[in-house]
């Protein structure tokens, strides 16, 4: 029997891997998908349970997830176990690396915010001189955004903002609460734009139920869960990659599979870790460098309003668009929302008085979270830490990154701006602050495998194809050159779709 070789081997089943699988299999290309985690069934593998029946009453097993603030006792089994999946950092510069190893990847907990990048990001260097431009511009990606938004059921409104291009949206019929409307009006007076949220609909919107079903329906996709990829293997004669070595998650049995093309979509830092462990695609020396994300200041302002009623909105980046001079480059976005009840910690009370205050303010909360652009810097990087291996013996990462004055100054400006807007709107401000969560916690990690036209200064070309090895692609957020303040998933899917169409065309022409 001749050895089977798959056309395309896809590592990872999340936003990027799912989109590549969908795009390629629908063109008739045979794909094999490996994911480090298990397959599961939303019905069979989840149970409705009261919190008081959980062993830790909802607090979760203490110390189980020191770096995953998103985990709780209900979702503990969803997140990658930190003991099985260790990594290291300098204690001075903590990094929260948040991972999910399951079919569907991190899209299983996707916040679903879906914003396009603009040429303020793709051509960021042209605007402010810092760093590098992407090798593509907005018009190159726009046709793919046009296809991805309907696939992900993104709702929103067209607002005509150059820094936040409009898309193909489902209608958003929501109205603004009275306090939300006052906040929006005060923002407008100051020249600060606001928009409705743009969000994929459905709380389970994920690769698992929006992308993989179409791919499996073609009959061209084989998914093998529980496959922890150790290394991408190379044909010494041609220098091309020819498959991967992997380990079965449960039995730890070693395996190998061959493929014509290898596509890595294992998540930003896992993909880079795999390339580093494989000794591939690093002739430039920049693999692992330029790690960034968006800094988050959660609940930058917390206020209470005089009336109940809930609605949400978004302030897109509005600073440094037209040559004004802030004490920082680029800008930040804000998620704001009215309604809900402020956390009890904001009330300097206890006992019956606290319960009365909570009852009085029920449904009258207002809060806003800042999401700021982080400058991509060479020195913020990851490298293999040979002393730290995971439960399958795969060397893990040492992560070294920190925010700088550009981010700190931006956070302070955001805090002051939002406090002013709250006060002008007649809200009672309970607290304002500019304390960021640690890098990584936003789960928007980007860079480390950046795109570029120059093979000496970048890992990938504009098609997410490595400069060094033509049949090796990296399709997740690691390819980003800048990230702006927009949540990255929509752009990850658009880039993955664009890379897939290029791949299919190259295969058709016999160049791959």
């Amino acid at each position: 029997m001749p050895a089977t070789t798959y056309d395309v081997l896809i590592i990872g089943s999340g936003a990027s891997g799912g989109m590549v699988a969908r795009t390629l299999t629908m063109k008739g290309i045979k794909c094999l998908m490996l994911d480090a985690g298990p397959a599961f069934d939303f019905e069979r593998d989840r149970t409705l349970r009261p919190v008081y029946e959980l062993p830790y009453r909802g607090f979760g097993k203490p110390g189980r997830f020191p770096h995953v603030t998103q985990a709780n006792e209900f979702t503990a089994a969803l997140w990658a176990d930190e003991k099985q999946n260790p990594y290291s950092y300098d204690p001075k510069d903590p990094y929260y690396w948040v991972r999910i190893r399951r079919i569907g990847g991190k899209t299983l907990v996707w916040g679903r915010a879906s914003w396009r990048l603009s040429d303020y990001e793709f051509k960021a260097k042209d605007h402010d001189g810092f760093g590098d431009n992407w090798p593509i511009s907005y018009k190159d990606l726009a046709p793919y955004y046009d296809q991805c938004e309907p696939l992900l059921h993104v709702s929103g409104r067209k607002e005509g903002l150059p820094q936040l291009p409009d898309g193909v949206f489902l209608d958003d019929p929501s109205t603004d609460s009275p306090s939300g409307a006052r906040f929006i009006a005060e923002a407008k007076k100051r020249g600060i734009p606001t928009t409705k949220q743009r969000r994929a609909q459905g709380t389970l919107a994920s690769s698992m139920n929006l992308l993989l079903p179409d791919a499996t329906a073609t009959g061209n996709l084989t998914i093998v869960p529980n496959s922890v990829v150790r290394e991408i293997t190379v044909d010494k004669k041609t220098g091309l990659v020819n498959g991967v070595s992997f380990v079965d998650r449960r039995s730890k049995r070693e395996m190998h599979v061959k493929a014509r093309i290898v596509v890595v979509g294992a998540s930003c830092l896992e993909s880079t870790r795999l390339l580093l462990n494989s000794g591939l695609a690093n002739s430039s020396g920049v693999l692992g460098h330029y790690l960034f994300d968006q800094f988050y200041v959660k609940n930058t302002v917390q206020a209470v309003t005089s009336e109940t009623g809930g609605s949400t909105g978004y302030i897109p980046r509005f600073t440094n668009l037209n040559g004004e001079k802030k004490n920082y480059l680029r800008g930040y976005a804000v998620d704001f929302g009215s309604g809900g009840t402020p956390d009890p910690k904001y009330f300097p009370l206890y006992g019956e008085e606290l319960q009365k205050a909570l009852n009085t303010h029920r449904g009258r909360g207002f809060s806003a979270t800042t999401m700021g652009s982080v400058l991509p810097r060479y020195e913020n990087h990851v490298a293999i830490d040979k002393n730290v291996v995971d439960a399958w013996g795969v060397p893990s990462l040492h992560i070294q990154t920190r925010y700088t004055d550009n981010e700190f100054n931006m956070a302070k400006d955001a805090m002051n701006t939002l406090a002013e807007l709250c006060q002008a709107s007649g809200f009672e401000l309970l607290e304002k602050h500019d304390k960021m969560v640690p890098p990584g916690e936003s789960i928007h990690e980007l860079g480390t495998c950046r795109m570029g036209d120059n093979p000496k200064a970048s890992v990938l070309n504009q098609w997410n194809q490595t400069h060094d090895v033509k049949n090796l692609f990296v399709v997740d957020g690691s390819s980003f050159v800048t990230g702006g303040s927009q949540n990255p998933t929509l752009t990850i899917t658009a880039l993955a779709m664009r890379a897939s169409e290029y791949m299919a065309e190259q295969m058709r022409k016999g160049d791959l």
């Binding site: 919190v51 008081y52 300097p348």
Partner: protein, 170 residues
Amino acid sequence: MKRRSFVGALAAIPAATALAQPGIEAVPHYFSATQLSALRKLSDLIVPAVGDTPGALDAGVPEFLDFLIGESPADRQRLYRDGLNALNAAAQRKHGKPFADLTAAEADGVLTPLHERWTYAEPHDVLAAFLHAAKADILTGTVNSREWTSVVSQRSRSAAGTGIYWNPIE
């Protein structure tokens, strides 16, 4: 009974949560007796029973926190132990008796950090840091209890405290 039918019958027996059964109670083991007394007093002050709404003592919060903190990382354990000791020391200094024996008015004079505005700056004072942490834990422990959710659910006709639990993976 054949083994197969016995196993089948076993599967049909509804599993009970131990602490919901009459006669079964948790045995505190982590805090010292004086620490636990202070924690009971503090819990009752933070979330007292009001009308038919159960308080932290009804919800067994001090005993639950004895278990939770006993299982927690060292820095959390230190925060609680040092905080409860500081609470008792402050009560002794001001009133010559342990915190558990204070009147509500006397206790209020010791709990001054809870009357100060909360900020993101971590308090350096041991007592203040502990009181803010304990306030949050006692509230959550109460709201997540069977006692609280059963009353609130009946009142609001909502399934308070219910969530989608991801089963552990193999």
